[in-house]
Symmetry: C2
Subunit: 393 residues, 2 copies
Amino acid sequence: MAKRLFTSESVTEGHPDKVCDQISDAVLDDILAHDPTAHVACETFTTTGIVTVMGEITTKHYTDIPSIVRRTVERIGYTDPAYGFDYRSCAVMTAIDEQSPDIAMGVNQSYEHQEGGTDAADLIGAGDQGMMFGYACDETDVLMPAPIDLAHKLARQLTDVRKSGKLSWLRPDGKSQVTVEYGDDGKVLSCPAIVVSTQHDPDIALKELREAVVEEIIKPIIPAQYITKDTKFYVNPTGRFVVGGPVGDTGLTGRKIIVDTYGGSAAHGGGCFSGKDPTKVDRSAAYMARYIAKNLVAAGLCRKCQIELAYAIGVAHPVSVLVDTYGTGVLDEEKLSAIVNECFDMRPAKIIEHLDLRRPIYEQTAAYGHFGRTDVDLPWEHTDMVEKLKSYL
Amino acid sequence: MAKRLFTSESVTEGHPDKVCDQISDAVLDDILAHDPTAHVACETFTTTGIVTVMGEITTKHYTDIPSIVRRTVERIGYTDPAYGFDYRSCAVMTAIDEQSPDIAMGVNQSYEHQEGGTDAADLIGAGDQGMMFGYACDETDVLMPAPIDLAHKLARQLTDVRKSGKLSWLRPDGKSQVTVEYGDDGKVLSCPAIVVSTQHDPDIALKELREAVVEEIIKPIIPAQYITKDTKFYVNPTGRFVVGGPVGDTGLTGRKIIVDTYGGSAAHGGGCFSGKDPTKVDRSAAYMARYIAKNLVAAGLCRKCQIELAYAIGVAHPVSVLVDTYGTGVLDEEKLSAIVNECFDMRPAKIIEHLDLRRPIYEQTAAYGHFGRTDVDLPWEHTDMVEKLKSYL
Ligand SMILES: C[S@@+](CC[C@H](N)C(=O)[O-])C[C@H]1O[C@@H](n2cnc3c(N)ncnc32)[C@H](O)[C@@H]1O
Ligand SMILES: C[S@@+](CC[C@H](N)C(=O)[O-])C[C@H]1O[C@@H](n2cnc3c(N)ncnc32)[C@H](O)[C@@H]1O
């Protein structure tokens, strides 16, 4: 049997794409707090000296976007002009329209209703076409794949240590990457390669930086038994990373969709999450798909599970539902599909209701992953369908 | 056995995200035509009335970005102020920096060389960390999954029919989506659901539009045997799609990465392609991974194959290589991995050389998919390693 190596990556909240995701979701939260049924599609980009917020937003709430941008950039830590980017001095521009009335028509009154239907649960049409995947597996306690779970923990540790002040030369931008070696039984054997790059003050020596990152970031996070004599550490492999954040790399909302989800261990439909209200199935149906997959694994119906949902714009019912257990199901997949269809209602109005998505809960999801989180309470991580699912056994 | 339904989507060249991808790659091509070793990371966004081009570009060539933007938007077909967006009257803004000198250091002189190495093939360090996947399967002649292949053909047909003038009320923006039913043997049985949304002139009746799209777009493309009495057609399910393009939806480069690749049938590492020169492994290594997977399937070494490559920024050698044949290999995976490592050199300098990537070949990839194309000659689609691979049988 060949060694099976799999690699996933994560980034810190100071990464320019993640800065944009967090701003888009901070704007969304501000609107939802005042106007829960607002339609929001909020995109952000940032490059040297500027943040621009754009998109399609229909709401009665007045949103002070420049304040939200500055508050978010300050929380992240771009607080010193020496970093090249600073929350006080960056320019903030906006270019926002209302949602297209043609799209609003399909979302507010679904195809089913346009064709004469009257079921209230059919009223909201999907905000777009597309496919969304949800995944869960028993590799970790949080039922996430190990590589992305470890990569997120490293990224979080970079931020925690920076904000604690312990390594005073750390700056906000950073990335992590973990290669995992799996055994024949699918268990994690070791981490053959770990990559950490962090932005830093100019006056720290490369050697000192590399040692400190191994000691303070990597070792406290990666379980000792995964580090072998062959494990390769790549810490700031370019040799220098003083220029960072939006100065080093232009950021855009929705450009870290694999970091946001399963690190490549599962499929992805392509739609991003941040800045989107829950009538956008890119977000709400992906959360639902994770919820379904996680509950199936937690109930012991399978050890690994991928759900694909697909929608047509303006239509409430999904056009396809796929349950794939990679052969790990204790019931056959036809039976499992029937159970999923019986227990979970996948129409947008029902997803929004069941997961209670019309609340300002999104900014906290916009860094360190939308799934498998233990630091925040996310409804799609609840395993409250386990009892019901077990009754089918 | 459960019916296995899988859905993939595509979009036309007039979709706002794809407009951005094409502009980013048109800028890249203009630069590479004059300066093949330029470093380019070009991002675009567009919303009502405006296109903004940003990023990090280091080149000696002078690029007239506004002209490139207008030429690209004209080619796509936003040529009439009545569409709400017009190549002559839209604003064009730019915000471009040089590549960060800290990144350039790692790309121009890899970690291997910084540590004392002298192998010329090691000289170029990977332009970023990350994972890239390549995939191929024997579902279609072009060794692509059927759902994305059919979705692209529908999107292309929308554009071809529009540009031919046959349905004069078609406008540039559009999307397609195909649900495929697979049999136990993995063969395509039928298409249970097909979604097509197209932007249109205001004066066409919905009924007439729906009939014309079924007759002129769907039926000429989807093989008749896949259309059954149960096939559902959703044509413009919102009921109206006059507002479209950048007016209906803000577009950004790199937001159609699943459309660009395998439609969700394979994994994705998260990095996008458009606007990136080939020192960025997000692009070049994903092309290489497809090339490897396609040649393995074409040589008959397996029927289905996914390759994962992973890199550390500034390092030439990949940190991990995974060959997964889903059990379809005629040799075991350890042996196949060894063959892949022997036949394919995955260092950036070697990928660039082998696939001849320092040429202006990218704009043509920025709509209708980067893989499985037959209308354009893309080096990573060549099956020129088949003879060599067959020698291992
Ligand atoms: C390498 S940049 C992407 C390429 C970039 N747009 C360019 O033009 O080269 C991607 C991310 O890498 C990180 N990064 C930036 N500068 C770096 C450096 N000098 N060394 C290591 N990582 C760096 C940042 O998190 C940044 O957002
Ligand atoms: C539905 S929009 C995404 C959501 C949008 N940002 C919003 O605020 O509602 C995504 C894509 O759908 C297509 N689209 C736009 N208007 C549409 C309509 N009225 N009916 C069907 N599809 C439409 C366009 O291709 C557009 O880029």
